[in-house]
Amino acid sequence: MINIDFDWSETVSQAILSLLILLLIAYFWIVFRKPEATRASRFWVKFCLHILLWLSLLGLVLKPYVVRTAKTGTALIFGNEVPSAFSDQITDSLQAAEILSINKPGFSQIDTLVVVGEDFPQSFFERIMLSQCQPQCMQWIPFEQTGHIKNLNWKGILRQGEIQRIAGSLNENKKGLLKLKYGNAFIDSVLVRSGRQVFNFAFPAFSNGRTLMTLELNGKTTDTIRFYSRKLESLKIRFLLDSPDFETRTLASWLGKNGHSVDYVSSLSKNMVSEVKINDSGEPDILIVDPQNLGKDLDKKYLEKGKSILVLNLGDLSTDINAINKSFKTHFQVKANIKDSTKNTSETTLPYHFVLTGSQISLSKFPVTAEKKSGMIAVSLLNQTYPMILSGDSLAYSKVWCEIMAGLRPVTKSNIDIQSPVYQYIDKNMILNNFGPMPDFLKVGQDSIFLGPSAINPRTSTATLRAGKSGWVSFVDSLELYVEAKSESRFKSAYMADFLRKYEVYQSELQYSKTTDKAPVRTSKKEMPEWVWFSLILCALLAIWIEEKI
């Protein structure tokens, strides 16, 4: 079916059309005014040629086109950075696919567009969105250049002492070493083999503020990682013991020196209790008790509030474990270690180990296990750890108790989960949890972002950040977030991923509306190029001129 897009309502259009009709009348009047002309032998030839000329003019003005039902097909489009070897490889494996030009792609004949690489001009994305006949599906084959790290991600904001995980993928053609560096110090390294591989670094955040690290591949810096490490709140710990002992006193002292508040309560005699307060404690976050102090109402009250309880100094294991299970309705089970004469026995722990059930987790490499209730209930089979600190190995002591306290720490407040890198002008989702009363919006730099509550967790909200400014931006109160600039080399990849995600949502919305409304027929438009009309006019003129000469 032939269609015309000519705007009849516009005055200019009407004038052009009137002129064209006038031209036709004037033309015939000039050519055929003499009666002998109509009697000439080649009158009809001449007549046809003139009609052709006029029609060509009309065609040039009206630009008619044909609308057909669109064919379905797959097309490939390659980014600027994709080398010919890789594009040939893809083309060979998708032989039926049409290859589109990056500068002037036409999407009319395709329903699946396979995008290879990431270096596309902005006009490409605009063209897709403005196209009347958009591909229904877009697929992306990222091109991983050798020696370039891809899919790099890490936590944008985390607490001091929390595990930071840096993951990514790498395509390398030779063996090497990938190092994570902080200043001149090496935090971690992985061996790189030839081919595509994923890597993962994990370490506890150690700084308090902005942190910048670099990734070095074979001695060459490839990427920079920036995150914000926020200060970890100190704990309030209460010891409730039947008698003071060196192990717990050492622990209380160590906790106090590390900035935690400790209230050390121990019975000395009947009606006589000794209390040592270190760093002015308040209501405790963690209660450390011995089996003699189990089952008191206080314990359960704390537990209901989401605080944690650690039971240590166990004597008769079977009795004590039963008492713990009875008091807190837990399911701890211990088993004696099989004696191995070849191994040195350690005095650090009791010679037993826990049999873990589904809801229990081990807090340390030593036998300290916790079960989650409202808070955590942990049982320690550690016997003597203070010899470590007395022998000068305070690092080992610190490692043991830091791990245990980390597991017992009640859920921290104002948790923010945002994965970096965050790019300028690209949407980034984040999750906020346990903010007390959840605010309606957050302040990020000069902008405000609104929060949406989670459907399954009333203490969680989600938000989408679209940063307009790059660099370190202030976040919530005293925190900061690093926004990568648009000019960063990683930006293109992130932009493509974001575009495809949004495009998919957009297309699914379209599909949804098609199922609900009357579905339009997918058509394609075929239009004659302008140069064809010009050629026709020239040919007609030439033919008229030649016809006169003959």
């Binding site: 150690f206 000395l268 209390e275 004469s341 306290m405 980390a406």
Partner: protein, 733 residues
């Protein structure tokens, strides 16, 4: 006429140049005077000079044509011009004027213009400039008071601005290190401010500063203690003796205000090491027998970082026993003396010392070096030489004979394990026959051991032990062998009670003693061996059962060894060893408990029932740790290092953290040495408000990183909907 015109142009040009020169000289004079007064060279002075220059140009009208002035001058100095040169300026001349011009032209060609006279005016300006030059170069040499008076009189700048602009700067620093004379190290000088020298060296600092007038220079240590430099001419000198390691900085004060502060430098005192003595003999304890040579030859190599002044051997002879012990100490000086490294030998004549049987000789090497005022003294380990007195046999030696048997047995079980493991390791290299033979032999050893323990438990001895020759005569198919060594507990074989007949007991039969194991025969003299072994051995019940269990394991081990399965025998061997060890421990405990056995304390009744009337009821103590840990301080500073550090704008909390950390580490220098020096230096630089470059920041980062706490102290967690979580936990279970 052309000549005359050229002359006018020349004079006019010269006048312009002279005018320009005057302007320049005035501006330069102004600049120099201002520089001399303010004691600095800033752009302000240049601006002042430029203003003078512009003003002078305006005054002298240098920009205007000086043609008329040139004509006037020519009229003045050349009489023949007859004051008619203005005619040149006119375009229409009458006849008389034309005639006059022609006349002058002819006269002027002969006349000469005194060009030098034009420059007479410059003399004054040269004079002004000369004064300025004298002022500029001369004012620093003037006594301070005069300078001050001048400054006050001129009153050009406020005092505050002067103090800022004239801050002293370090121009040169020379460190002269005079090592102690005994070291023989020549005196050296360098401009390196980080000092490393022998302890006791004399250090002389010679510092030169710019703008040093009224400056008091001090040497400051990290605790803030300061000592003043002495001013000699324009330099500052301080002399002191190096006694310990540390950091120092140089600070300059003007009117009590800190106006110069250097970065921190290290001062490392290398101690003079004591003499290193390496005796040739490694054996500290030796016996001397009657037949041995009475001349003891000993040698040692000695070395010192400078010189060994004197070395000697100190020998002590101990004689007698019990309470009647006498000591005699003899000191043998050694030669050579005053050497750096040498091998020293000495022959001790034991006869001369009166060394007799039963005596003990203790001797050690000692040396002093040439350190002054107090020499370093060092000595070697003490060597013992015991003259064996063969005439005396102590009873205790006999007594230990029986006791020593037990450990030997334990070693034997371990030896069996070692042999088995060795055999397993060599398995591939050995032929099957060899392998089987060795396995059988170990099995034999195991049996011997089992029987020896058996005798402790009152079991029977066997002299003809072992499973017979390899290949087994008893049973062709080998089943007999297995049966013979299986300790059956299910009612079959040897272990089955009542089924296997007990071998006959032959007590008191002398003829049978000969057929017994010689050891058993020896033991029989000491142990009271009654018919019923169960009742008459010296072990308590638990020890007995342990030994029995050990024997059972030995049975199994022997079985596998005999059927050439050493791998399967190994676990039983280990188990046997473990039981034997436990038995050994038990036996020891038993001895310990054989003394006083106190009645048990009824803990539940007694606990917390003490008298408490004199005790204070208030047992509440309060403590506070206000100082942050090093890890916390380091983490805080690290969090700031990725900010754009701008000069002199360190936040208060970072300044405090850096100050505290730096002070803490500096105080540790005497204990930890200079290991923190590089990092501390950068930290101090940051604290003093100076910008750090990338290299320094990276160095500081890696240094502080090592000081942080790198343990997991938080696990990311989320507070979830309580009911949902509870249901999840229930389902998980």
């Amino acid at each position: 006429m052309a000549d005359l015109n050229a002359l006018i142009r020349k004079v006019s040009w010269q006048l312009s140049v002279i005018g320009f020169l005057k302007c320049l000289m005035l501006a330069a004079s102004g600049y120099m005077i201002l520089c001399a007064i303010l004691d600095t060279q800033t752009s302000l002075n240049l601006l002042f000079a430029l203003t003078i220059f512009c003003f002078a140009i305006w005054i002298f009208r240098v920009y205007q044509s000086s043609k008329s002035k040139a004509v006037n001058l020519i009229h003045r100095y050349v009489n023949v011009s007859e004051y008619s040169l203005e005619l040149y300026q006119k375009s229409d001349l009458n006849f008389a004027e034309q005639l006059q011009l022609a006349r002058i032209d002819s006269q002027m060609s002969k006349a000469e213009f005194p060009h030098l006279k034009l420059y007479n005016d410059l003399k004054l300006y040269f004079g002004v400039m000369g004064v300025a030059v004298i002022f500029y170069f001369g004012i620093p040499f003037l006594p301070k008071t005069i300078t001050e008076k001048k400054v006050t009189a001129l009153n050009l700048r406020p005092i505050k601005a002067k103090a800022i602009s004239a801050a002293p700067e370090l121009t040169s620093a020379t460190i002269r290190i005079v090592s102690p004379s005994y070291t023989g190290i020549p005196e050296r000088s360098s401009d390196e401010m980080n000092i490393t020298a022998i302890s006791g060296s004399q250090i002389v600092w010679e510092i030169a500063l710019t703008n040093s007038y009224d400056v008091t220079l001090k040497l400051s240590n990290t605790r803030g203690e300061e000592v003043a430099f002495r001013r000699v001419n324009e330099n500052f000198i301080y002399k002191d003796r190096l006694t310990g390691s540390g950091l120092y900085a140089i600070k300059g004060y003007r009117n009590g205000i800190l106006s110069y502060e250097s970065e921190f430098y290290k001062m490392e005192a290398i101690p003079d090491e004591p003499v290193k003595i390496e005796p040739a003999s490694r054996e500290l304890y030796q016996y001397h027998l009657l037949k041995d040579d009475k001349k003891l030859r000993v040698s040692a190599s000695m070395s010192d970082d400078f010189k060994v002044k004197q070395s000697f051997i100190v020998a002590t002879v101990a004689r007698g026993s019990g309470e009647n012990v006498k000591f005699r100490e003899v000191k043998f000086p050694l030669f050579p003396t005053d050497f750096k490294k040498a091998r020293v030998e000495k022959t001790i004549d034991l006869n001369q010392l009166g060394f007799a049987p039963g005596d003990e000789l203790y001797y050690y090497w000692a040396a002093i070096d040439n350190k002054q005022p107090m020499a370093n003294f060092s000595k070697s380990d003490t060597y013992f030489l015991v003259y064996k007195d063969t005439a005396q046999i102590e009873e205790s030696e006999l007594a230990t004979m029986a006791v020593n048997l037990v450990p030997e047995y334990f070693r034997s079980q371990r030896q069996i394990i070692i042999d088995t493991e060795k055999l397993l390791a060599k398995e591939k290299k050995l032929s099957k026959k060899e392998f089987n033979e060795i396995s059988n032999e170990i099995g034999f050893d195991q049996k011997v051991l089992r029987l020896r323990y058996g005798q402790y438990l009152g079991e029977e001895f066997e002299t003809n032990i072992g499973g017979g020759p390899l290949g087994g005569e008893s049973n062709a198919d080998g089943a007999g062998i297995i049966d013979a060594f299986t300790h059956h507990s299910d009612g079959h074989g040897e272990g089955a009670g009542g089924q296997a007949p007990e071998p006959e007991h032959h007590h008191g039969n002398e003829s049978k003693v000969a057929s017994k194991d010689p050891l058993a025969a020896l033991m029989e003299q000491y142990v009271h061996n009654h018919d019923d072994g169960e009742a008459n051995t010296f072990y308590e019940q638990s020890t007995r059962s342990l030994l029995k269990m050990a024997l059972e394991q030995m049975w199994q081990s022997e079985l596998h060894l005999r059927i050439y399965e050493p791998k399967q025998a190994l676990p039983f061997e280990y188990k046997a060893l473990e039981y034997l060890k436990s038995a050994q421990q038990k036996a020891r405990t038993y001895v310990k408990k054989s003394g006083y056995d106190p009645p048990p304390i009824k803990e539940k009744e007694k606990r917390l029932t003490g008298e408490m009337k004199d005790l204070s009821a208030d047992l509440t103590l309060s403590r506070k740790y206000e100082k942050s840990t090093t890890a916390v301080l380091a983490a805080e500073i690290l969090g700031y290092l990725d900010h754009q550090i701008t000069r002199g704008k360190l936040p208060a909390n970072i300044q405090f953290a850096a100050g505290t950390l730096s002070q803490r580490l500096v105080q540790n220098v005497p204990f930890n040495g200079m290991q923190n020096w590089a990092g501390l230096k950068i930290l101090q630089k940051m604290m003093s408000g100076k910008e750090l470059n990338v290299l320094e920041i990276n160095q500081l980062k890696s240094w502080l990183y090592r000081k942080t706490d790198r343990d997991i102290s938080n696990r990311q967690d989320y507070l979830s909907a309580e009911k949902l979580e509870q249901v999840f936990r229930e389902q998980l279970r």
